[in-house]
């Protein structure tokens, strides 16, 4: 069996938390303002922190406590802080540039979610309880929605956020499906995030210097 066996109230809490996590990714899909986007990401990471903490308390796993507080520190505080500061420093235009309009992108996110449910159901339904199916399909749909965010938005900040949503999805999947993962793996993922954000911010600053904007539409000029 995948996942832990837990009392009923933990299942109810876990259900509610994963549903809220999915909803916050839809909030990100439907927002027009970058600062709102970043705050929604912070909120999503905070929910993941609570979920990890609840699972850690219930299973009395010290590693999960550790991972939970690292999540709180890195994903909920540091990364949104860096991004918000970046916006202020470069006075980036607040409005998100969209290729696909908001209603269509919400509906596409919905289709991706349904697809994720379908995939997870086919993959792990024979040997896992229903709660794991629900939570891991939501994690997989976070990954899909993150990809969709990268595809459908122009600016580099939103690309970074899409990548971070993918990371969140992977982290959620690992916490829910295999909570006994060695702590070193989780640490690697968290450092990965910090390095990714730092590297991408430096890259986008260079892009700002060269092209004068954060929009990636300019990049097709580089084609030789």
């Amino acid at each position: 069996m995948l996942g832990y066996v837990m009392p009923l109230y933990v299942y109810v809490i876990e259900d509610l938390l994963v549903a809220l996590i999915l909803l916050s990714s839809f909030v990100m899909l439907s927002s027009r303002w970058i600062s709102f986007y970043i705050h929604a990401y912070g909120f999503q990471s905070f929910l993941i922190f609570i979920l990890t903490l609840v699972l850690g308390i219930e299973s009395q796993n010290i590693d999960l406590y550790f991972v939970a507080f690292l999540t709180l520190f890195v994903r909920t505080i540091v990364v949104p802080y860096i991004l918000l500061k970046m916006i202020k420093k470069f006075s980036i235009k607040e409005e998100v540039k969209l290729i696909i309009k908001i209603p269509l992108s919400i509906i596409s996110g919905l289709l991706l979610t349904v697809f994720a449910y379908f995939l997870i159901y086919r993959l792990i339904s024979p040997f896992s309880p229903k709660i794991v199916i629900n939570a891991s399909s939501i994690a997989l749909s976070l990954i899909f929605i993150g990809f969709f965010m990268i595809i459908s938005r122009f600016t580099t900040i939103t690309h970074i956020l899409g990548l971070l949503v993918i990371e969140n999805g992977i982290f959620l999947l690992s916490v829910v499906v295999v909570p006994t993962l060695p702590i070193i793996v989780e640490l690697v993922v968290l450092f990965d995030i910090l390095v990714t954000v730092a590297a991408m911010l430096i890259l986008s600053m260079f892009m700002k210097m060269r092209t004068g904007s954060f929009s990636t539409t300019m990049l097709n000029r580089l084609v030789g």
Partner: protein, 319 residues
Amino acid sequence: MNIFLNSTVFQIFQVITVLLCSPFIAGFISKIEEIIEGKTGPSVFQSYYDLYKLFHKEILIPKDASFIFQSAPFVSFISMVLITLLIPVLTIYPLPLGFMGDMLGGAFLFSLSSFFINIASLDAGTSYGGLGSSRSTLLAILSEPTLILVFVGVALIAKSTLPYVMLHTITASLPLYFSPPHFLIIAAFFLLFLADTDRRPINASTHVEMSMIEEARILEYSGPYLALLKWSGYMKQFLLLVIFLNVLVFPWGLSVNHSPAGLFIAIVSLIVKMLIVGVIAAVIDTAISRLRFFRYQEYFAAAFVLSVLAIMTFQYKGF
């Protein structure tokens, strides 16, 4: 001494409660809105005064209007009274006429009333009538998928489309009450409630022709006809609140037996619950700005997402 009333008495009281309390709730919400905006506002009973005044005025009918114009207020009013019989307003057990129709029947009656007002506003032949009816038809088209999916979600949870069964299902199981499908359905229905009762972010029911939807449809009516239409508008809001509160959000406090005390407690608790939701609705109505007409789809897409996610999360819930 135990007095036990007939269930017919309850059925009658159900209709009387809706008829008499609905203008009060409407007046209360508008009073709260005015207070939030920093004004004194009209009395809570202003809706009653309006209805009284309108019933004592003469009826003016446009020259080109046909029988549809005259029948629309009655159809609207009577369909609201019929919906009252179908839903659990006061009692937790089904009343004799509660089995006339299920939630789909109620939705059919709501759209019947809306349809008659639409064709009546077209019937008068003014340009404002056409404008109002086309806008409200667009809104109905956008909100219909969500409404259907909310019903599907309720039918999945309760294994029935009768509102009484849904009420019993969620009160019987506490994990189900706190499960995401239930909350998501509540959220989707609340968005529909805001849209259907003419609140922001969809539209303010003002008389400015740029933004009017509900007012444009009934612009040609006057006197008792207008009073009936206004009253059925108040009742529509009241009934949607009853479905929202007594079927979905908080199905406690209803009468469990035939006693007069139960009847009294049911009426009082219903009013108290409604005042709380009314305050929330008034805060939302004053805090949010109006959406542009071409951005309504974003709002309804959000409601649609909520209802689909309710169905998806119900399939694999953890208990």
